[in-house]
């Protein structure tokens, strides 16, 4: 009997905590949109976090602002534009492609292409070299193996 009582108590307490875990916002669709926008925006107080992750006061305010604007019928793009107008392109984790961000977007690709080009040139040059330009392939273990064989023959 006591065991059943205990089980009941546990179940009841679980049900109570489950109720608390329900999000405070009444509209789950809006909340999901807010989260997806907030995950794209940088929190300027703690710059390596998104507004969705951060617990700073500013991030909370900005989440509220995003939620309010969505509720008023703003599109996702309008909300992101609103933030960019106030805090600059830096708030966006995916900065727009324009003249000032050209190096940011194109730079890594250029570096990769340059690296591959250098690799190709070096490899091509090496294929044209005569065989005696390279050091012999024999490593130490080859020498040891031949010595070992020689020793076997002696005994």
């Amino acid at each position: 009997m006591a065991r059943w009582c205990l089980l009941l108590c546990i179940l009841v307490s679980m049900a109570v905590t489950a109720k608390e875990a329900v999000p405070a916002a009444p509209d789950p669709v809006l909340e999901a949109r807010m989260q997806s926008i907030a995950a794209e925006l940088r929190c300027l107080v703690c710059q390596n976090q998104t507004i969705a992750d951060s617990h700073s006061g500013l991030a909370e305010d900005l989440r509220r602002e995003v939620r309010d604007q969505l509720r008023r019928g703003a599109s996702d793009e309008q909300v992101v534009q609103y933030m960019t107008d106030r805090y600059g392109d830096f708030v966006r984790y995916r900065p727009p492609f324009k003249a000032s961000t050209l190096v940011l977007w194109v730079g890594p690709v250029l570096l990769l292409v340059a690296g591959l080009a250098i690799l190709a040139i070096v490899l091509r040059r090496r294929t044209k070299l005569a065989a005696d330009q390279f050091e012999p392939d024999e490593g130490e273990w080859v020498d040891e193996a031949t010595e070992l064989k020689a020793g076997e023959r002696k005994s």
């Binding site: 107080v45 305010d61 960019t84 106030r86 600059g88």
Partner: protein, 176 residues
């Protein structure tokens, strides 16, 4: 050709050091504001010391003024405050405070304790006007011209150097 093998890595190294040296001097917390050169956002806020009186953006047109964002909970504001009080005594420009996300009593007590350099402080309790001004690190200071355009923004405390080398010359330029 043989020399290039040694010079090229050295050149790349020097360029890399150059980039890193510049990077070290930059403060990642200072994000250039997109608002500079743009009209200041509209606002209508109650005064901190008088909830019945509202100050609007339109009231400020026609003069070059300073908007200093502060809060009683902000430690860096305390460092900045004596410089603002000293600058206010020279009466070179009207200084308005934006009391950001604060409690009215805390803000007033703070001013009573450390001195009040402001012609008036606007009471932005929920921080919405702060968001419109792109505020993210209190204290912040804006200089707004006669047409209501933001001409200068300082993120973090104002120092006597910044007042002398940036704000005073700008003020002369805008009033001249």
């Amino acid at each position: 050709m043989k020399n290039l093998r040694f010079i090229l890595p050295l050149a790349i190294f020097v360029v890399l050091v150059g980039f890193l040296a510049v990077g070290l001097r930059l403060d990642p917390r200072e994000v250039p504001s997109p608002l500079i050169g743009k009209p200041a956002p509209g606002f209508a806020l109650a005064r901190l010391d008088d909830a019945g009186k509202t100050i609007r953006r339109e009231d400020m047109l026609g003069k070059v003024w300073m908007l200093n964002v502060w809060a009683s909970w902000c430690a860096a504001c305390r460092d900045e405050h004596p410089h603002l009080v000293a600058f206010a005594r020279t009466k070179q420009m009207p200084i308005y405070g934006l009391n950001y996300k604060d409690a009215r009593n805390d803000g007033l007590a703070w001013l009573a304790r450390f001195g009040d350099p402001y012609d008036a402080s606007l009471f932005d309790q929920d921080g919405r006007v702060g968001i419109d001004f792109g505020v993210y690190g209190v204290p912040e200071t804006f200089i707004i011209d006669k047409q209501g355009v933001i001409r200068f923004k300082q993120i973090g405390p104002v120092t006597p150097e910044i007042i002398q080398t940036r704000i005073v010359p700008l003020l002369k330029e805008l009033n001249g």
